[in-house]
């Protein structure tokens, strides 16, 4: 019964979206400007303003998020009546005028300027990102959006859990815990109310991917949220966004308002009887805020400190209620799975790691940005083919993968395929998917000291091993570069790493030694070279 109500409600929504989008597009050329948190720093707002001011009657303007080709920003896409698009890179307010002149009623000529960046990827969560208007629910619906939600609402929550379980999806925040297992265990408590918290803190240096989703394909994140809340029986969701990207917050707010107006949020979603309210919360800085129990303390109004686990948040989270915490990328994948089926998703990736992963590439690369690739793709493909690193004239010395809780890999490890969990036993993990390409302009000791100092500064101070141990690691590294007794200091360092990890309360301390362990494993000698001892 409910099933047919949902189907009818969704069809009505789709039909009116199609009508509205067709009316808007009419017989006009579409100019899409990609405006995002990062690209605004290189003048994309001014480009959008310039285009808006000189727009001919034959064209209309759409504001999208960025598609991840940061190296080409500001980017403008011109889509002709035939549907073919041309990409303009590094547009300035001045050159925007020439784009308008070129239009003169004709379909654009030429193809995307640098399509190998995109053809080497597998975009499912980022699909439409940078092309669809960032906060237009109708464009998302016409693109096939919310079909996954409509399907989920015609199933029981248990069936949704089973479907996502069958897909093999594991959490994209860095821990790779099966997404469906969290929903299941929150539901199994039988207690209400339950909460969904979206961990969009993304405070790890070197990653900027969740922001692209929240700025470019807002409704996909929202769709995944509603599915996750439905499956786990949560009636209220908190979307927790880092303090830095105001644009993510603004656009998600707009998307939430639209969804409320269209009956995709609120008390009776698509006539299913299921209701969800979404509230946005902003972080206030700090890597550790992304640690899930710290995030809960932050929402409740306490110091940014982790809680003891167990109990796990799915049993006792926000205000001691069952709470599911998911990452935006995970939720975007959930939307794909519900729309296309578990099998389609499971076909992507490897036997153990299903689906895709968004990777943030930066450092010594010609094409910094975000890319989405199948699990199992090699680092070489990501770094060399997609990122085109290292920069000409420089030698690759290492990759810093997975942020300050992970470590560094030497060039000899370039053929390592990406997967959830450890990439190397010395503690190098994919984490949330940051890859910083390091070349000969920086030394491994400096990199490791930087990561160690970051961990020490971010340590919250709650547990002694991490509070006292992380600064001692930095001191030992400093002594290594001046001291005459490197052997003793290396012993110190190894000892510190050995005790701080297992004795620390949360992931920050537990993983704080990883950069050092991986560097000692792969580059042991370089610390001595720096010290001038060898």
């Amino acid at each position: 019964m409910t099933g047919s109500v949902v189907a009818t409600a969704f069809e009505t929504l789709e039909r009116s979206a199609r009508e509205r989008v067709q009316a808007l597009r009419g017989r006009k050329i579409r100019i899409t400007v990609q405006v995002g948190h990062c690209s605004r720093s290189v003048g994309t707002t001014q480009v959008a303003d310039a285009l808006a001011a000189s727009l001919p009657d034959t064209a209309y303007l759409a504001i999208a998020g960025c598609d991840g080709a940061c190296f080409d920003a500001p980017q403008v896409l011109v889509t002709g009546l035939s549907g073919r698009s041309r990409r303009y890179a590094r547009v300035t307010p001045e050159s925007a005028g020439r784009i308008v002149d070129e239009l003169s009623g004709n379909a654009p000529s030429g193809e995307d300027s640098d399509s190998s960046f995109f053809s080497g990827q597998r975009r499912i969560t980022l699909d439409g990102c940078g092309r669809l208007a960032a906060t237009d629910i109708d464009e998302y619906l016409v693109h096939g959006g919310y079909a996954g939600l409509a399907r989920a609402l015609r199933m029981t929550p248990e069936e949704v859990i089973d479907e996502v379980k069958a897909s093999g999806l594991r959490g994209r925040g860095g821990a790779y815990f099966p997404a469906s297992a969290k929903w299941e265990s929150a539901r199994a408590t039988g207690r209400t109310p339950r909460y969904l918290v979206v961990n969009a803190e993304e405070g790890e240096p070197g990653i900027f991917k969740d922001r692209h989703l929240m700025e470019g394909i807002t409704h996909r994140v929202l769709e995944g949220m509603v599915v996750a809340a439905y499956a786990s029986g949560a009636e209220k969701a908190f979307l927790y966004i880092n303090v830095e990207p105001d644009l993510s917050s603004q656009r998600m707010r707009e998307a939430i308002d639209q969804a409320n107006r269209h009956g995709i949020l609120g008390s009776d979603i698509l006539g299913s009887g299921f209701g969800l309210e979404v509230e946005i919360r902003r972080g206030a800085g700090g890597y550790i805020c992304g640690e899930e129990t710290t995030l809960l303390n932050t929402i409740e109004g306490y110091r940014r400190e982790p809680r003891l686990r167990p109990p796990f948040p799915t049993e006792s989270g926000l205000w001691a209620r069952p709470t599911v915490i998911n990452n935006p990328e995970t939720l975007a994948a959930v939307a794909y799975i519900m729309a296309n089926g578990a099998e389609e998703f499971a076909r992507i990736g490897t036997a153990n790691d299903k689906g895709t992963k968004i990777v943030s590439i930066s450092g010594s690369v010609r094409r910094p940005g975000i890319v989405e690739v199948s699990m199992g793709t090699t680092l070489r493909h990501i770094v060399a083919d997609l990122g085109q690193g290292p920069l000409p004239g420089h030698d690759l010395i290492a990759l810093a993968v997975g942020g300050p809780s992970s470590g560094v890999l030497p060039p000899s490890m370039l053929d390592t395929p990406i997967r959830g969990g450890l990439l190397h036993e010395s503690g190098v993990m994919l984490g949330a998917g940051g890859v910083i390409v390091l070349d000969d302009r920086i030394g491994i000791p400096e990199v490791i000291r930087k990561l160690a100092a970051y961990n020490a500064a971010e340590s919250c101070g709650k547990c002694t091993p991490c509070r006292e141990g992380t600064p001692r690691m930095v001191e030992a590294l400093d002594r290594l570069s001046t001291d005459q007794a490197p052997d003793a200091d290396l012993d110190d360092l190894r000892y510190l790493v050995q005790i701080v990890g297992p004795a620390s309360l949360c992931g920050l301390g537990q993983a704080a030694g990883n950069p050092i362990t991986s560097a000692l494993h792969f580059f042991g000698d370089e610390f001595f070279v720096q010290a001038g001892v060898l």
Binding site: H37, C38, S39, R40, S41, V42, C70, F71, A73, E202, E204, P205, G206, I207, F208, R211, N242, V243, E244, P245, D246, R281, R282, G283, A284, G285, G286, C289, T298, I299, E300, G301, Y302, R303, R304, E305, S360, S362, G363, S364, P368, G369, I370, A400, I436, L438, D439, R441, I442, V447, K450, Y454, A457, C460
Partner: protein, 155 residues
């Protein structure tokens, strides 16, 4: 200041329920309004939310983006994350330092600009990046530093 307290009390009454979960949103509002968290404002927030002032202070000082000390009229942050360092961030940092005559972590003697390093601005694709008040600028070259500082309001 008594007038400030009065205004803040009214805003708090209007916008925030008296529950602890409103602490961070309330502190964000105060910082947005005053540029930092004055002691009296933290006390007012505590009174409104029924949280001891000591706990408000404890929570506030645990977040890296909340300030309990008054910054200069403008803030200038240079990103020194690995991506930025490699792509000219180091040169940028020293260019700013010599233009301001102040090391990072300090405010210029005339009180106009607070100069800081940030471990990552999350615009790694636009390296090197610099933030003036609330605005990020990417792909910044050391020779544009003077202009940026002038634009930031220094005579």
């Amino acid at each position: 200041m008594p007038r400030d307290i009065e205004l803040l009390r009214n805003t708090l009454n209007e916008k925030f329920q008296r529950e602890r979960a409103q602490l961070l949103p309330a502190l964000h509002l105060v910082q947005h309004q005053f540029g930092y968290l004055p002691d009296w404002a933290m006390e007012a927030v505590g009174r409104h939310l029924r949280i001891p002032a000591s706990e408000v202070y404890g929570a506030a000082t645990s977040y890296s983006e909340l300030r309990t000390e008054k910054p200069g009229a403008h803030t200038l942050k240079v990103c020194t994350g690995l991506g930025c360092l490699l792509n000219g961030g180091r040169e940028l940092l020293s260019a700013v330092e010599s233009a301001l005559g102040t090391p990072p972590g300090r405010t210029t003697a005339d009180g106009r600009i607070t100069f800081e390093e940030t471990p990552c601005g999350f615009l790694c694709g636009m390296a090197p990046a610099i933030k003036i008040d609330d605005t990020w600028r990417g792909r910044v070259t050391p020779d544009s530093v003077e202009t940026i500082i002038v634009e930031a309001g220094r005579p």
